[in-house]
Amino acid sequence: MANVVGAAVCRTAADEGKPADWVPGGERQKVVDPMKMFHELPREMQFITGSEAARESMRRANIDIAIAYPITPQSESMQQAGYLYDEGYIKEYYRAEEEIGTFSAISGASRAGVRSLTATSGPGLMRGMEAISSWPGARTPIIMLNMCRVINTPLAIQPDNIEMSFMLNTGILMLHAENQQDFYDFPLAAICASEQVDVTLPAVVSVDGFFCTHARGPVMITPEEYKLPPRDGWRSAVPAMDNENPPARISRDAPIQKSNFISYHMHSSWQQEVFAAVQRSAKYFHAYLGGLVEVVNPGAEDFIVASGCAVSQAREAVRQEGEAGRKVGLVKIKTIRPFPTEDIYEALKGAKRILVPEFNQAGWLHKELCSVLYGRTKGVIKDGPRVYGGMTMPTEMILETLAEFRKEVK
């Protein structure tokens, strides 16, 4: 049976239950330069859920293979990915046996040089953490969508982004989407940055589950007839592997498994290179996203620094404070890795009070901020409000914390 016309993989129209003249959706799209896609193509507003925004992002991302195991609240997005597979926008897609299998398999796919996508949520991410933490060292530019959810007991499926703290020091590029718009834009930017020769790293785009994935919001999207250029597996810091004729030892650096000075030195330098590559990715995110941070009301005495859904709540708090005649600044952090230390410092160097609201118990963003600004700013950095386990963060909670903060620091 003949392959589908132009298809890169062995999917036949008959196998797919399609008419004989069926052409996969991806084959009908035109490749467009990423900068043109991000900044020049016309956009149309749609009012869609975060999961649907992820679908539209995947539709334009020229994905070769998607592998995932369902978990709430990620399932909705990967169901949407299933529709894309059916329509021929994703070339291969299957449900793996569980998350360790998922994340090991997607690593193999990426090593073979194809654009590889996976997705998960809280406990699923924790289950696959061993495989995930091996991705950066293997220099596999995988894109992972992470719909954050509670990970610890008692069991809950509500939003809480504590799981992001477990990835901070793995060498993965990390972006945190504020809303449905970001969940459309960020995966495309992350793919392009992660596949640059001087980066060649996996990227995860996290979003706060349910609040964004299962709720509708305005999203400006580009025409669906355009897609990103395909991945070139040979244009990479570590060339693609021929998986049909794999090397005898899969490990790329067998000497590293020995216990001697040379092996320690190799491992050390390899890690240094991974984390240097994280820093090198910053210039690409600057170009694709217009900056690693967004600053509202520069020069204010009071600032809120946040990522993810906390930004939306802080944004409204800033607006209400403005109505009351008080200027409050906002720094939205788009990229958690690379962490935009200098951009943040530049925005906050004149700030007196810096508030960090978060949707997790650990306060990982507050800790990050304290560590990079220590000794560099005179502003007092306060954590709060901090909600977790699926709790909500009403705008008035931020306003109350800000009012208390003003009393504490005159």
Partner: protein
């Protein structure tokens, strides 16, 4: 597409439950439409309240369940039905404001 006429503010639902709130304003009256997250996507809907603004220049308002248009929170299960309602509500709210101003003001 959701109606954009008279839309003065699109924001994350301030209650913190996720979702988007749209605020429409016609003089001193308006509508607050919110679409919140649902575990089943098919259950996502609009909840709409008639509101009365308390300040000319601010988006602060009180929910108003005393108009003839609606005495409770209304639910719409599609953008089309919401748009149809907005289409009819806009002239009513504008008229209501004008009529109220014609009434004798309490000293």
């Amino acid at each position: 597409m959701i109606k954009q006429d008279n839309l003065i503010l699109t924001r994350s639902d301030p209650s913190g439950q996720g979702g988007t709130q749209l605020i429409y304003r016609l003089k001193s009256y308006g509508l607050a439409a919110v679409s919140r997250p649902q575990e089943e996507i098919s259950m996502i809907h609009w909840e709409v309240d008639i509101v009365k603004f308390s300040n000319e220049n601010k988006a602060s308002f009180e929910i108003c369940h005393t108009t003839e248009l609606a005495n409770k929170t209304l639910k719409f299960y599609s953008d089309k039905s919401l748009n149809e309602f907005l289409e009819k509500a806009f002239p009513y709210l504008e008229e209501l404001d004008s009529l109220e101003k014609m009434l004798p003001q309490e000293p």
